[in-house]
Structure formats: C-alpha cells, structure tokens
Amino acid sequence: MTTESPYWNPRHETMARDELEALQVRKLKNLLEWADGQVPFHSKRLSDAGVTAESIKSLDDLARIPFMTRDEWMQGQLEHPPYGPILAAPEEAAIRYHLTSGTTGKTPIRVLDSMKDWEWIAEMWCYGFWGFGVRPADRVFFAFSYGTFVGFWGAHYACEKIGCLVLPGGNMTTEARINQILDMRATVVCSTPTYALRMAQEARAMGVDLTKSPVERLILSGEPAGSIPATKKLIEEQWGAKAGDTAGMTELGTIMMFECEAQPGGAHIIEDHYIEEVIDPIGENPVGYGERGERVVTSFGRGFIPVIRYRTRDFVVKVPGSKCSCGRSFDIYDGGIRGRVDDMKLVRGTNVYPRAVEAIVREYEAIDEFQIHLFTAEGIRDEIEVLVEIPDASVDADSLCRKVGKALAEAHEGLRFGVKQVENESLPRFELKAKRVLDEREVVGGTGERKQA
C-alpha cells in the first residue's frame, strides 16, 4: 500500500484548477440530471429557473440555480413527514438514519443514507484523516456518544477503512475516557475542541500529564473553535499533540473540509466532491478570495438526498490552495468556519460574535471555562458579561478579569464587557457542540428599535 502518499486521492487533490473545475462541471451536470429525474422538489425548482443539466456549460451557470435553505427543508419535513419531499431513492434502500444536532433550527433535519452513501461519508473523512497524517498503524480513540447525531460516525468508519485500530469511546465518563486513551496507548484522539480541553482539564485533576501520553494527533470537529488560533494552541499545548480542524454538517452527512499536516491556518475544501461558493449573506452576490461571506454548498456525494446550492449560514473566508505548502490545489477556508450568520448578537449597536469572544478569552490560559451572558439591566439596557472559571487560586483573578474586559472592549469598538469570576465547575461542560451563549435579554436593540427578545 502506498502509505507514503500524503494524499488520499493524489490525482484529484493535486489537479490543476482548470481540470478540477471541468470535473466539477461534469459532476454538477450528473447531479442535476439525477435530482431532476428523481426529486419533484428539485425538478420544479430547476424548471422554474429554466435550468437543465444540458444547459450547464461552466461553473458560472451555478448562479442560475435557486438557493436551497434550511427553512425550506424543515418546512418540507413538516408538510411531508418524516423526511420531506427530498428523497431521491426509496426508503428501503437506506441503512442509516441520522438527525442534526439541534443547535440551530426548531426542527432537526432527518436524513437517510444507503450503503454506497455511507461508504462515501467515510470516504470524505478519509481525505481528512489521511491528509492529517493518520495511517493504518494508528490507534484512534473517539470521544463521541454514538447517538443519532451523525458527528464522528463517518470518521469511525473512515478509520476502519484506513486500517487503524478504532477505540470507540461512547457512554463513558471523561475519567474513563482518559484511562482508555492511556491504557490502549491511543495515538489519535477525536473530539470537539471544547471536549478536548475538558479531557485535558480532567487529566490534570487525575494527575495525568497528557503531553507524556502516546497521543500525537487530535482531530477536531463540531465547533468553529478548532481553527481559533488561541484555542488550538491551548489544545496542542495541553495534549502535546498536533490538532487538526475539520468541519461537516448533517445535511451533507460528513465533512467538506479538513486541515492538512502542513497546518496552513485553515482547512482545504474537498473540491472533487463539493462546490463551495461564498456569498454576501444579504445581497447574495459572490464575494472574492479573502472576503468574508456565507458558504453555499453543492454536494456530489449523497445521492439519496441531493443538496444543491444549500445556504449553510456559516461564515468563511476562502483563499487559494496555493497558500498552503502541501501541494493540494483544493482551496482553503482560512481560519475554518468563522462563525454562524445567525450567531451574531447586537449589543448596544455593536455586533458581537461568540467566536471572536472565544478567540480573546482563550488567550488567557488561567481561564478554564467561560460563558457569554446577555441580560437586560434596569429594564432598559442591553448588557453583556463573560463569566469565567479561574481554578488556580494563585492567579490574581480581579486583575485577570480586568485585562480580559479591556481586551474584549478594544476588539468591540469600546463596548463594555463585564468579566466576572464564577465558582469552579459551575459552568456547563459539553461533549458535543458547546452552547456558551446565554441570552436572557427581555428586549434587544437600541432606543427606537427595541423589540422583544
């Protein structure tokens, strides 16, 4: 076997951009033909827009296809339960059922996969694991609960496919997971960024120095924090291992981007299986390299549920693949997922993004856990405070809180942030996607534009 190859699919990953785009056009035509023929929901949308597979000549033609939104998907599920009018194959062909994690939207999205789709889902994770240096000799521990959320399920099967020894870590306490990682001499650990920090915290409490463990790599997913430099640095220091970011979504069933071993400060888009556009979320026009915008994804993978120009609400900044030294031609999302369009909080006229707050708070290693709390003061005023746990009694907590507050204000046009120390272990801990924003405002917005929260 060619374990020396740094690429899972060397030909595709190093393809010249014009060849890659020609490949995407061909796959797009196939996808449209399939969706048009099998899914009335898509055929009506395509027909209304005057789009046929044959009419696609270049990637510029993508703009003629209407966007697909999560709201439409959820509405379709309510009107045509349980899956909505989006299946392209009979339910009998499915072998897997999964749900979105429930961090956004009122109704979780339900999805089905066939044997072939499930293999494809693992295949996408293989790009990421192989690209970050995971090989058959590795022993991979999954700190994952193995429930209906698709999460690391595909990654588990990817590691089996690669030939690793897979160590499933579902239904275990954090302490039991640490023991398992050490006992089984795991070389790779998979978790959310938040949970990687939680495990490190637990290990310290157990008197375990993880930097002396055999773990060489962490594969992170599920939250934007895997590409926040301060968070990533903290994780790498506490584990003494390299941390690689990945990002996926249940709507696709798997990841669409991964960080390679060269760690270019972002993640490569798996462009032989997806077209990723970046648009202005309001004007809906495309934005160029280096500009922040919303991801719109078209997937060539899961044929069971065609996903065509899906508005993800993820903020990203795309840069050319040549920014990385790894040799891949796949473009990069610099800084990974930069947050969610819907995550933004308006506080006294200033936009606050949880990811930006985390990027600052994680600069201070003495802070173990934190929570962003928004509330209404005196019935009229929006306030924002960051609650922090500082377990080390030798740290001057008051001074640290003042420093953090100053840094947060400087990064937010002078907006006043209260920073308050709270009792250790009093803030919630998370295994899957962290929810660190507690918005208890009764009303939101400035004078004259206030509305019910």
Partner: protein, 68 residues
Amino acid sequence: MRNAIGQDLNPAQEELMACYDRLASVLGERRDELAPFEERNALKALAALWQVANGLDMDRGQTYHLGA
C-alpha cells in the same frame, strides 16, 4: 480503458473497474441465484468499489436500484 475525462486507467485500476462491473452485473441480473450471505456481502463490496469508480472518474451512476 479511459475515464470520463479522457484519462487512461492503469492495469490495476482497470482490474478494479472490472470487479465493480461484474459485481453490478451479478447483483442486477443473477440475484436470485445468491444466498443471503453472498448477496449482502456483494452489496457491501459494490458500495466500496463504487468509491473507487467515483475516485477514478468512471461514471457508474447510482446504486440504489441494486439496494446499495
């Protein structure tokens, strides 16, 4: 043998494609002759080999009609 973008496959890749096509043919045309263990394992193999075909840019369409 050439793929959908006009590139030649090497002999090993051609062998893999032949395996895929034979599996698809057996599952499509001679399924009644297969015991459960033969049919279900052949489907698993087909699903895996489809990834090879896809990665080689050999358009083989979807597999749902075969149960994969």
